[in-house]
Symmetry: C2
Subunit: 169 residues, 2 copies
Amino acid sequence: MEKKIAVLVTNMVQDDELAVPTDAMRQAGYSVTLINGSTDDISGVMGRSFSIDAAIDDVKPEDFDALFLPGGFSPDQLRTDERFVSFVRYFLINNRSLFTICHGPQFFIQSGLINGRKLTSYESIRPDLYLAGAITLDQPVVEDGNLISSRTPDDLPQFVPAILQALAK
Amino acid sequence: MEKKIAVLVTNMVQDDELAVPTDAMRQAGYSVTLINGSTDDISGVMGRSFSIDAAIDDVKPEDFDALFLPGGFSPDQLRTDERFVSFVRYFLINNRSLFTICHGPQFFIQSGLINGRKLTSYESIRPDLYLAGAITLDQPVVEDGNLISSRTPDDLPQFVPAILQALAK
């Protein structure tokens, strides 16, 4: 069966961090579902428009094989909404594949489940994750079991192959 | 002598959180200096343009009586730059007046000096501040000695009078 990847995203996402990995996943034959509070189009920080496939109230985390959390200023907005945090929590606590870049790991602080996990992130939020008990690293890609993380759009050439390799398992 | 207020700010500041308190401070006769990495104009999240008065390399914290940190997505960008974090640290460690709203307290995490201080903030970053050891509250204005904080633009009607009262002391 075709693997399904959920993406939690809202306005002010970093455009390339959303577009590049999701394009690569679709080209590799995976089903990608962009999820926000409603199904209205969103726009990235650089002005690109993206279609939303599903509203958070109409999806369940158990219906997806993997979760992708892109960065920019999208995660900081969504993490105030328990519906999104609870969705993220499911993938952490049930050891399902979770890919995240830049500000994506901000969700993990509200999840309360990042203590002892190894990851990287955009540098601004790295102290926040450190204080939440994560083991924070400064490298292009960090893999901790099913959790794969990167820092910025510059890491996409390493991040995308790591995601595709994990999905191919 | 006229009191001087420094404001650390860059693009994607929340427009009202910058404009409303600084207009009120200027009208009350105080000198307000907007500081960024360069003196290029910046624009807020809602599209308003603001002039910058000084570049960070050309100012010293000891030349100001108070510091104001507005929110939006400005603080998360500036807190990756040690010059700005060091500027903030001066006001915390030397007990000078410090006013902040929304995402402004993100600077305090990098400062390493917020343990045990009482404050409020935008709800998304409140867990980050809690994990940094701050005593986080959910109320329109929190005053902890010289540190005055608020949550969102909706708190401006309470935040601005608290600032003006502190400056009048």
